[in-house]
């Protein structure tokens, strides 16, 4: 199992479109993937769960991954959240 903390830097936070992107990335992997904020943990493959986190700009989230492809999953999520910042313009 691996875990990593992220700060959400894009201006609008994880609103609908970024939540959709995260869910789409997460569902590509076999591992169980969770995302939590302020102690609330939800399934990162459920868009309703991710939206319910209300992870706005500047909030801190923890990604927890457990499974055979956990490392590549984390890499893909890092890329989306940190490098591409959800492709926000």
């Amino acid at each position: 199992m691996i875990e990593k903390k992220f700060r959400i830097k894009n201006k609008l936070g994880i609103h609908a479109r970024p939540a959709g992107q995260l869910v789409k990335v997460a569902t590509r992997f076999k591992s169980a993937i969770y995302i939590s904020r302020n102690g609330n943990e939800v399934n990162a493959k459920s868009i309703m769960g991710v939206l319910m986190l209300e992870a706005g700009h500047g909030s801190e989230v923890i990604i927890r991954i457990n499974g055979e492809d956990e490392f590549s999953a984390l890499e893909a999520i890092e890329e989306l959240i940190d490098k591409r910042q959800f492709d926000e313009e």
Binding site: G13, R17, S46, E54, G56
Partner: protein, 602 residues
């Protein structure tokens, strides 16, 4: 809810104008009447059927979202379309779909009610979010919710039901069955998320003269019932929460248009005759039964182009002869012996695939379409001819063959027609023995050999849309070259002149059923070239008639001669615009979106 506070500013959305006019009033989003949903018990034996009903409704809603997404992507790019993927993810989420299904099984209540409960629980949580942007996600849920509930309520609930008063009706798409049930006096305008100029809703809106804009994209999510809107069916603009100045400007423009159409309507029953007495046959292009009555009311002397493809595209199977016959009879009877030109099915490219197993073509517009399908699928062509011939005894019917590019094709069609007639005679089935047959002139090869083709025909009808595109080698839907699509190119004008001339020399009359016939700027030039018949879109009937009634034939001849002497489309258009401004000042409304004013500015 929060949409209200977020949307109280003026907001403009561009769609596709499909039916002229300006509608000002409160919005009525289709499906906003879901407060009608009530819980009721489902018998134990029916529970699985109820689950199935919800599953089907969700799948249908997903299909709709996929379509909107594709259309939006085409028009506005990938980013704008992503929101629909999110909506699809929401519908597939176990917390939504799974939870609703589980609750149907446990609580044995109806799908509408439980789906609403599940979604509204989240909606409520969202509305308590601190972050304003996050809070606004509740509108995504509302949109998803309405879509599914509408699917569940199905055709039983038409968008006009529960219209509290005059309103602008909004919907994802309006199905024929839905539009037909609307209370006409309450519908100020139609606005849809999906659709094109030729969608059924668009055609119906035009025939009902209700301003309409389609293809607006994800608009329902910004609306709550009663949001004040302006729908501009000239420019395709939708304005939400218009500012007072905007409202004032539009009210003024609307009254100008109303005054003009009121004035034009006075010549409804007068003949389309020039001042010096030349009669012009002015008829309408139609596709559906519903369009016949309004066109006749606006003074069309008949139908100059009845597009029959609709019957072939409705379903996966081909229409039977009886189905075609019934529809043709209905339309012919509505005309009370005024003439009608049936264009035999003009399918091609993607449209024909379902029925004709057309191969993927690199250039469908240069491929297997129109009359070119008839030899391989002669039985389909014969069946349509039989249906038309049988119906022909009830009125004055003419037949028009699309996409003719050679005499050989025309001879083939006449041969088939003769053999079908022979069949009917043998079976003692009555039909009009003298039924006239014409060729559609829309391919340059047909236009330049119009004399040869006219010898095989009783009339010619010029289809300008394809003629222009083939002559100039310009695909009008390709935005890299669409500015080169010019109806007033000297090359196109020469082909039109020659076609008319050749037709007359062979003793047949020549009409026009393409868009150019509906363009007020072209009317005088076409009269001057000797065009006998104008078949126009129903909304253009009154203005074209007004122009015809205000000109002399010899003045049109002089104008045509001058127009044909110019070397570029710009020169032609500038000249025609200047004449139009001088003679028909009153027909131009100073609205920057008016087609004629817009053209001047370009």
């Amino acid at each position: 809810m929060h949409a209200e506070s977020a949307a109280s500013q003026e907001m403009r959305i561009k769609g596709l104008a499909v039916s002229q006019g300006i509608a000002i009033g409160p919005a009525f989003p289709f499906g906003s009447g879901i407060q009608d949903v009530r819980p009721h018990e489902v018998a134990a034996a029916e529970v699985e059927a109820e689950v199935q009903r919800l599953t089907q409704a969700i799948e249908n809603a997903k299909c709709e979202l996929t379509r909107i997404g594709e259309e939006t992507q085409e028009r506005l790019g990938e980013r704008s379309a992503e929101i629909f993927e999110v909506h699809i993810l929401i519908l597939d989420d176990p917390e939504i779909r799974g939870a609703a299904i589980r609750r149907i099984r446990e609580e044995r209540l109806n799908a509408e009610w439980l789906f609403l409960q599940v979604v509204e629980k989240y909606e409520q949580s969202f509305s308590h979010f601190k972050d304003e942007y996050m809070r606004a996600r509740a509108t995504d849920l509302q949109d998803v919710k309405r879509r599914v509930i509408r699917q569940l309520q199905g055709a039983a609930k038409s968008p006009g039901d529960g219209l509290p008063g005059p309103a602008v009706v909004f919907a994802a798409d309006l199905m024929p069955s839905e539009t037909i049930h609307l209370r006409r006096d309450y519908v100020l305008g139609f606005a849809t998320e999906l659709g094109s100029r030729t969608s059924h809703a668009a055609i119906l809106a035009r025939s009902l003269k209700v301003p309409s804009v389609v293809g607006l994209g994800p608009v329902c999510q910004y609306l709550v019932p009663g949001t004040p809107v302006i729908l501009d069916g000239y420019s395709g603009q939708l304005i939400l929460n218009p500012a007072p100045e905007t409202l004032e400007r539009y009210e003024k423009t609307r009254s100008l248009y109303e005054a003009l159409s009121h004035k034009l309507a006075r010549s409804r029953t007068l003949p389309a005759r020039t001042k010096d007495g030349k009669d012009i046959e002015l008829s309408a292009n139609i596709e559906f039964f519903e369009e016949v009555q309004p066109a006749i009311a606006d003074g069309a002397i008949g139908v100059g182009l009845y597009r029959t493809e609709y019957l072939f595209l409705m379903r996966d199977e081909l229409p039977t002869e009886e189905e075609q016959y019934a529809e043709y009879v209905r339309i012919i009877d509505a005309l009370h012996r005024q003439p009608i030109i049936f264009r035999t099915f003009d399918l091609g490219g993607d449209k024909a695939q379902r029925h004709f197993h057309v191969h993927q073509e690199a250039n469908p517009f240069l491929g297997y379409r129109g009359v070119r399908l008839y030899s391989e699928r002669e039985e389909v062509f014969r069946m349509q001819l039989r249906a038309i011939l049988r119906a022909s005894v009830r009125g004055r019917v003419r037949i028009l063959i699309p996409m003719i590019s050679s005499v050989t094709e025309m001879r083939f069609c006449r041969g088939v027609l003769e053999s079908v007639k022979e069949e009917l005679r043998a079976a003692a089935i009555p039909f009009d023995e003298e039924i006239p047959v014409g060729a559609m002139i829309e391919v340059p090869s047909a236009a330049v050999s119009a004399d040869l083709i006219a010898r095989e025909c009783d009339f010619l009808s010029i289809g300008t849309n394809d003629l222009i595109q083939y002559t100039l080698a310009v695909d009008r839907s390709n935005r890299y070259v669409d500015q080169m699509y010019r109806a007033f190119s000297p090359s196109v004008l020469r082909l039109i002149r020659d076609t008319i001339h050749h037709g007359h020399a062979q003793g047949v009359w020549v009409g026009m059923c393409g868009e150019m016939a509906s363009d007020p700027l072209a009317t005088m030039a076409l009269i001057g070239m000797g065009l006998d018949e104008f078949s126009v879109s129903p909304v253009s009937l009154l203005v074209i008639k007004d122009i015809i009634r205000r000109v002399h034939f010899d003045e049109c001849e002089n104008l045509a001669e001058r127009v044909l002497s110019y070397s570029t489309a710009d020169e032609v258009e500038n000249y025609l615009s200047s004449v139009f401004r001088r003679k028909f000042r009153d027909l131009i409304i100073h609205d920057p979106n008016h087609p004629l004013v817009r053209r001047e500015q370009n």
